[in-house]
Subunit: 358 residues, 2 copies
């Protein structure tokens, strides 16, 4: 049975203790999210001694929230296998369990990524036909935004995995980018068919023969990410993680050089006063908080990972992503596409290999 959102009056589970700025950023983020989605309810998992006073200071939020008390916390350096065995009573684990039970339509955590993925895989299992879940995120581009996956859940991927990522990325982009037919590109080291590794080459063939063929743009290169050449960037978790972080590092370097150049001359400082508004706009456009909220695609339930170091604005954005994915029933889109492509395999009960994502 595919877990579905039951109504417009959604409940979202929050890991109240996950992330560098938790629980404050969680509480303040939830309050901010209520501004965009005023009819949402929250279950906030974590230590009531910490959470209760913070929540009572925000009566608007308190009216729509309940605290699910638990004292155990997943630490940032907990290995996924350790978290699975020893953190069963943690705020993270209970947030996922709220999704499993149907009490919540989705969960958000800013905690340990590996632990969250391991727990979510075991507690929710994958969708029928999906071999491996992937992390899908939002990237700023010259053209607006694109989605990219996998951002790091799977170090090595075969063609079938990449095909499944394309199906999931397509559904993700439809909801997040509001596009009916998002274009899909395979990240490669050249645009010619003969370029790249076997997985990428075979995945291209599979996509050309599939129901998604009209949306398939073909191979793209690293510079196409910033250019916004396609809506959905499909790649393995190693390459995707490096590309995501390389883009982050380059943006930081550029901002550093800009600041440095503007601070070094008096004339430039006068100029900065005048152009301050424009530079502020630029800063806002590149604000990582606006792109915060990566979905664990392919699980039987909606789990969204917030950046660990995010602020309240970023956490609010991750909550809003979760709400949109739940309202638009992303997993139904994925299943429909898997059926139409003839890629649904019978469900099986084999144990999930947790080691692979450590």
């Amino acid at each position: 049975m595919i877990r579905r959102a039951s109504s417009d009056n959604l409940t979202i589970a929050l890991d109240g203790m996950g992330g560098d700025n938790a629980p404050e950023s969680v509480i303040e983020g939830a309050l901010l999210a209520l501004k965009t989605n005023p009819d949402i309810n929250f279950i906030i998992h974590g230590d009531a001694n910490h959470l209760e006073p913070l929540l009572q200071a925000k009566p608007v939020l308190a009216a729509r929230s309940r605290i699910a008390h638990t004292t155990e916390v997943v630490e940032n350096d907990d290995k996924p296998s350790f978290a699975l065995r020893r953190r069963r009573d943690s705020s993270m684990s209970h947030a996922i369990k709220s999704v499993r039970s149907g009490d919540a339509a989705g969960a958000v955590s800013a905690g340990n990524t590996g632990a969250l993925m391991a727990m979510a895989k075991v507690l929710l299992r994958t969708l029928p036909g999906i071999d491996r879940p992937a992390i899908g995120g939002i990237m700023p581009t010259q053209a607006g935004s694109s989605v990219m996956l996998d951002l790091g859940a799977n170090v090595t991927c075969d063609a079938e995995n990449l095909f499944e990522f394309a199906v999931m990325g397509d559904a993700f982009a439809r909801i997040i980018l509001h596009k009916e037919n998002p274009s899909i590109g395979l990240l490669n080291i050249g645009t010619e068919d003969a370029k790249g590794n076997e997985a990428v080459k075979s995945a291209a063939t599979m996509l050309r023969e599939s129901d998604l063929k009209l949306n398939f743009y073909g191979h793209i290169e690293g510079n196409d990410i910033g250019a916004g050449t396609v809506d959905v960037i499909v790649t393995d978790g190693f390459t995707g993680n490096v590309a995501l972080k390389t883009a982050e590092g380059t943006a930081k370097m550029f901002a550093f050089f800009l600041k440095d150049a503007l601070n070094k001359s008096t004339l430039a400082n006068i100029g900065k006063l005048f152009s301050g508004l424009a530079l502020k706009k630029l800063k806002n456009k590149m604000n990582p908080s606006l792109y915060n909220g990566a979905m664990f695609l392919g699980l039987n339930g909606i789990i969204v990972k917030s950046h660990g170091g995010t602020d309240a604005l970023g956490f609010a954005n991750a909550i809003n992503v979760t709400i949109n994915l739940a309202k638009d029933d992303i997993n139904k889109h994925i299943i429909d596409e898997m059926i139409q492509s003839g890629h649904i395999a019978p469900e099986d009960d084999e144990d999930i290999d947790v080691e692979e994502i450590e």
Copy 2:
């Protein structure tokens, strides 16, 4: 026998016909390079009917150059295997042959990368102990510059390949960055030892047990490239190519947003006038021409690839990189390090597999 530069009075071979702006950018680039290195001589390979009038217009360059006439040209869409069989008489092929014969201490081409690598492998062979050549380039960082390899010659790499890249990158960085003990990082999806694929994990162990152990920083992530965390970034050709182009695309996106933000408001335009000098400095710092010139490391001879779309300034930079590598005898550094690490294998005569880089 390792090919060596014979004296201070070096000769560099130029592929006069390779690149989008050839032959003009080649001739003008060579003239620019003479300003930094006035005692260099050039052999310019290509069509004398095109080259002669351009060269005669620059008497300073003409006095230090000779044209080696050939009419055949490697096209941008020639497959490496095709170029190997059918472009034996091309300007690119003859430029490499100048290095093989010892007439030139190094060669520069802005032509087809795959063809250049295939021809260079066949004509020059690899250095003893080096399994596969790699493309090493220069990256701008917050801290100055770093070198990165492989940028795309090898789609898949094992631990031994990555180890050899580290040895070659170390030698490259000593000369290009003028550092006695450049720090070396392995590009990965996390900094913990347990992260990453088998090749990266084993390469880390090899480096820790080698002569380079004191320079080995450990695993780095994509954001460490722009931060300048290490001097030498080691990765496979797929990841390296994607990271390089992702960084380029992100810098372009940032510049696009900045221009857009500054053009949109009148106040910002006034500000731009004042801060123009600072912004020009920023533009200069990020100018790709300044980082142009990627070496094909691991070949028995110095071959430098210029970006195909580069201008005269970029081509001049690639020539200067070649001169520095020749003067400082990079291949001697690589061989010495391979001997000290006990990684020199007996030379063999097996045929070079050209297909693998297509």
